[in-house]
């Protein structure tokens, strides 16, 4: 990687800011991992690549709702972005099937929290 200059930093910021796409984020901080996020992450990664689904799976930090870990945030075009909590591998597969493929939200696992 070439060292950044102020201009290049600015460019990179603008370029990266605009990148949008279907995305699944799995909370992979200590709290999430302790609750089983590693397994959820692996299942999602594996299934997405196996079925060639148009979504990328990424790690993220702790959102703060440790009581609801493992947390999975899903941003898919045409569906409101939501955060699923207490996700296990089974629910993770359901999320892929319903949310990502059929564009329908999954019942009983959505956690919304009121943050500005």
């Amino acid at each position: 990687m070439e060292k950044l200059t102020p201009q290049k930093l600015e460019q990179l910021h603008k370029q990266k800011k605009q990148q949008q796409g279907n995305l699944i984020r799995v909370g992979m901080s200590s709290c999430g991992i302790a609750a089983g996020a590693q397994q959820v992450y692996s299942v999602l990664k594996e299934e997405v690549s196996k079925r060639g689904l148009p979504v990328s799976v990424e790690k993220c930090g702790c959102l703060g709702m440790c009581y609801a870990e493992p947390l999975v945030e899903v941003q898919v075009e045409g569906v409101p972005t939501v955060i699923y909590g207490k996700v296990n591998p089974e629910v993770a597969l359901k999320i892929l099937e319903k949310h990502v493929v059929s564009k329908m939200l999954v019942n009983d696992y959505i956690f919304t929290f009121q943050v500005e």
């Binding site: 200590s30 919304t112 500005e116």
Partner: protein
């Protein structure tokens, strides 16, 4: 594709079943209106609002209704869903919300990707500082922001930086104190794991401001993931030219190294931390001289906490004035708390200063798990104290908590209900400090140990009436004579529980009674023969087979074998076990 989404949750009942019933009623109505292809209705597990009956949120309108009755459903469908109009009388004002500055990127970016951080405006604050601001201008900006140290003591950050900058020396250092060790507190860990670059950026800005060319991350070894992510963040920053020689093409050079803490709580104290980095035994030394004058290897050193540093890029980018708008007169910005204990939604919360404890515990935390009333909230960890229920409406800031005999501390917040014994709590925290005392100064080493012995005596029912004044006397001596913050504050949990719950101490001493039934040595379990149905559930559940007898003659508890675990008390459906 759906044009509207309806989130639905019955927040009044704890059972999912209620939400299911409401859901089917609503969905039937949607079908009657033939809207099932345009509207999707979703049962939500948690909508962030508690005890407000049926809550309905409609997207993309972002309309939130609470305390909705089933007869309102048709109105909602006709008005809000069909015509996108708001029904004023059902509208719910969102409760006191969290405000995220420190946790702005936590959970929003991949912590292992520097480009994700840059996408969110990362390192733009550094660019602004290096290109447009003199170190004095940065200090001025920090002064305007009113940011105070988030490690616990609340020392103004700008002043610390100014003092360190003022001293002339050929070498200066900055240190990020990530030796978070309070029981129940993990705010810093989450920031390091969720948004490591924000702390790295904050540290680089601090270094530029005071004129340091070397910096250290002091992280406790118990945080392996945090260490891994900080290590990765630092190496990425080097790769992108944000660390090392001529950062961003300017003439500013700065290097960071990581040092691991080996598990001593006292190393969170700044002079002990410095000794530890120098390779010496981690014990504090008297101040002054302060580290800003004589710190690491006797050079001027600025030590800042993780959360403090994570605030810095935000202040630079958003402006000190915007930051100073948040909070109270003396405490600006937000504070991250690790909300734990008997609270329903344990986790991290970031709230503006000046919010009340009640709002944090009830509106964000959802109240207690057990539904029992709150007895007190512990803040500030082993250096802090308890805030009893009647003071929960106090706005949270450094001064207010101090007035109540507690401290802001690093951000641990433990909710306690009626089942928590205050003598037991005091014993736990003091025990922690006694374990962690480095032993260098006598007031802390001996005072702590003796106080703990007195507390143990009280908890075991052998307390004397003079014990309370003895505790106060030793506590006073420790506060006045200990060398460092650990010893000076170790007695705080005892003093604060004594201040608000002295009657509980007296009950332990005079009546040999623990109202929370926590102090096992004061408890006795007996079977009330009149109520006993001889079902033998307790007999089977007793882990030490202390309950003997037969269905014909009845049962009794053998006092000598009984370990007072309380299992029989919990399992008896007929309330036939007496606990006294």
């Amino acid at each position: 594709m759906y044009t509207k989404t309806v989130f639905l949750k019955d927040t009044g009942a704890d059972t999912e079943e209620r939400t299911r019933q409401v859901y089917s009623v609503f969905i039937d109505l949607i079908r009657n209106h033939n809207l099932q292809d345009q509207v999707q209705v979703v049962r939500v597990a948690d909508i962030g609002i508690y005890n407000q009956g049926i809550v309905i949120e409609i997207l993309p309108d972002n309309v939130l209704y609470a305390n909705v009755k089933e007869e309102d459903f048709s109105r909602i469908i006709d008005t809000t869903i069909k015509e996108s109009k708001v029904i004023e009388d059902l509208l719910y004002k969102k409760p006191s919300k969290q405000l995220r500055i420190v946790l702005r990127n936590c959970g929003r970016i991949n912590p292992e990707s520097i480009e994700d951080y840059i996408a969110k405006g990362g390192y733009l604050a550094l660019k602004k500082v290096l290109l447009e601001m003199t170190p004095d201008a940065v200090i001025e900006e920090m002064k305007k922001s009113g940011l105070r140290g988030r490690g616990g003591a609340g020392y103004p950050t700008w002043l610390k930086w100014k003092f360190t900058r003022q001293v002339t020396a050929e070498q200066k250092y900055v240190i990020c104190n990530a030796d978070e060790g309070d029981p129940g507190a993990y705010m810093d860990r989450s920031v390091l794991e969720g948004d490591p670059h924000s702390v790295v950026e904050g540290l680089i800005i601090a270094a530029y401001t005071i004129g340091a060319s070397r910096g250290y991350f002091y992280i406790r070894a118990e945080y392996p993931l945090a260490v891994e992510r900080i290590r990765l963040a630092i190496s990425q920053a080097y790769e992108y030219g944000l660390l090392g020689k001529s950062i961003l093409g300017t003439d500013f050079d700065f290097d960071i190294e990581i040092r691991l803490g080996a598990g001593a709580f006292v190393c969170g104290e700044e002079t002990a931390l410095i000794a530890s980095i120098e390779g010496k035994r981690g014990t504090p030394r008297p101040r002054p001289p302060y580290p800003s004058v004589k710190g690491l290897w006797d050079k001027p050193t600025a030590i800042n906490n993780v959360e403090t540093l994570a605030n810095v890029p935000y202040i630079i980018l958003e402006g000190a004035d915007n930051f100073a708008k948040i909070g109270t007169a003396t405490s600006k910005g937000t504070k991250v708390f690790a909300l734990t204990g008997k609270v329903k939604n344990s986790g991290l919360v970031e709230v503006p200063m000046g919010i009340t404890l009640r709002e944090i515990v009830y509106d964000i935390g959802g109240g207690t798990i057990s539904g029992k009333p709150i007895k007190a909230v512990q803040t500030g960890g082993p250096s802090g104290g308890v805030v009893p229920e009647e003071y929960l409406d106090t706005p949270v800031d450094y001064e207010n908590l101090q007035k109540l005999g507690s401290i802001m501390g690093s951000g641990g917040m433990i909710v306690m209900d009626e089942d928590d014994c205050m003598v037991d709590i005091a014993r736990f925290y003091l025990g922690f400090c006694v374990d962690e005392s480095c032993g260098k100064c006598a007031p802390c080493r001996i005072g702590g140990f003796q106080m703990l012995k007195v507390l143990e005596r009280i908890a075991s029912g052998k307390g004397k009436s003079a014990d309370i004044s003895l505790l106060k006397r030793i506590a006073f001596a420790m506060q006045k004579a200990s060398l460092c913050g650990l010893g000076q504050t170790a007695a705080n949990p005892v003093l604060s529980t004594l201040r608000y719950f002295e009657n509980e101490y007296k009950e332990h001493i005079d009546e040999r009674y623990c109202r929370a039934a926590k102090c096992v040595e004061l408890l006795n379990y007996t079977i009330i023969q009149e109520k006993c149905k001889r079902c033998t559930v307790c007999v089977n559940q007793c882990p030490v087979k202390a309950i003997a007898g037969s269905r014909e003659t009845g049962f009794s508890i053998n006092v000598d074998t009984c370990i007072k675990c309380g299992r029989c008390f919990e399992v008896c459906k007929f309330k036939a076990i007496a606990r006294k």
